[in-house]
């Protein structure tokens, strides 16, 4: 079967189309709730609404890096290229969401603390995480030997993932400007829940698109190799 072909539902849509539509509807609902439904927070005021995008995006990024970690371990164990494709697609999504988290966090910080950036523990560990996975993507695009790249990338992905517990623990271990998590009123919790569902669906949709593209690209390489063989024969 061709890499891009999928089974269609009764109304002519593929499962991926339905997932994408659900993700964008949920995103629309979450934006509405974040701007109009959720109450204005008493201490930070309006900028606190950035939280409804910021937190779900970092969770989506962590999910991406968790997939890189699990698939990296599985690749080193089984040496199956399928795990490598799953890992490299997840890494790109992780970097995409982490970049948005750093930008949204900076603008939030500018509005609340009067500074876009501070070398405080959580920001620094998040920046290190972003750098490691940017290096991971650069490694993937620079080298030629596929199996060696997959092996090095798996190791780098596993090391990179180990930074996430430090990001989590940093607000408890060192004093910084990031607050510790606290309880929240029902309307804020509801809005956050919808936003998290939206970003989870969005992650799943983008991941399916990204993996499908990677598989098609690998198939093209195989077909060029087949053509080359036939040409030589």
């Amino acid at each position: 079967m061709q890499a891009g072909m999928q089974k269609k539902t009764a109304c002519g849509l593929t499962a991926t189309d339905v997932l994408g539509a659900a993700a964008f509807v949920l995103l629309g609902v979450s934006v509405y709730m974040a701007l109009l439904y959720a109450p204005t927070e008493l201490i930070q005021g309006e900028p606190q609404r950035i939280f409804y995008m910021h937190l779900p995006m970092i969770l989506a990024a962590y999910l991406g890096f968790l997939i890189v970690f699990v698939c990296g371990v599985m690749y080193l164990w089984k040496r199956t290229m399928g795990y490598d494709i799953a890992a490299r697609s997840a890494a790109e999504l992780g970097v995409f969401f982490t970049t948005l988290v750093i930008i949204s966090g900076g603008l939030w910080g500018q509005a609340v603390w009067g500074t876009f950036w501070q070398w405080e523990p959580r920001l620094t560990f998040t920046f290190i995480l972003w750098l490691i996975f940017v290096a991971y993507l650069m490694l993937r695009s620079a080298a030629q030997d596929k199996e060696r790249v997959a092996r090095y990338a798996a190791v780098l992905g596993i090391i990179g993932f180990l930074d996430i517990p430090l990001v989590f623990a940093s607000v408890y271990l060192w004093r910084g400007i990031h607050p510790e998590p606290a309880g929240m009123p029902r309307a804020i919790a509801m809005t956050l829940f919808v936003s998290m569902a939206a970003f989870l669906a969005l992650f799943a949709y983008l991941y399916v698109l990204r993996v499908r593209w990677d598989r098609a690209k690998d198939r093209i390489e195989e077909m060029y190799a087949e053509l080359e063989e036939e040409h030589q024969a």
């Binding site: 995103l27 309006e46 930008i103």
Partner: protein
């Protein structure tokens, strides 16, 4: 930047980036599918020729 302006700027950046990324992925997918179709046709042609 005032509080609500920062909120709108962040939401605009996030939504535009998501749409941009989906557009990029869809375009890349279309390109590889065209290339796959072309390669399949070439392989089929070579198969017939033998």
């Amino acid at each position: 930047m005032s509080g609500i302006t920062a909120v709108y700027v962040v939401f605009a950046i996030v939504i535009a980036s998501i749409f941009g990324y989906v557009f990029l992925l869809s375009r890349r997918q279309r390109e590889v599918e065209l290339e796959l179709d072309d390669l399949q046709a070439r392989l089929a042609e070579k198969g017939k020729g033998r």
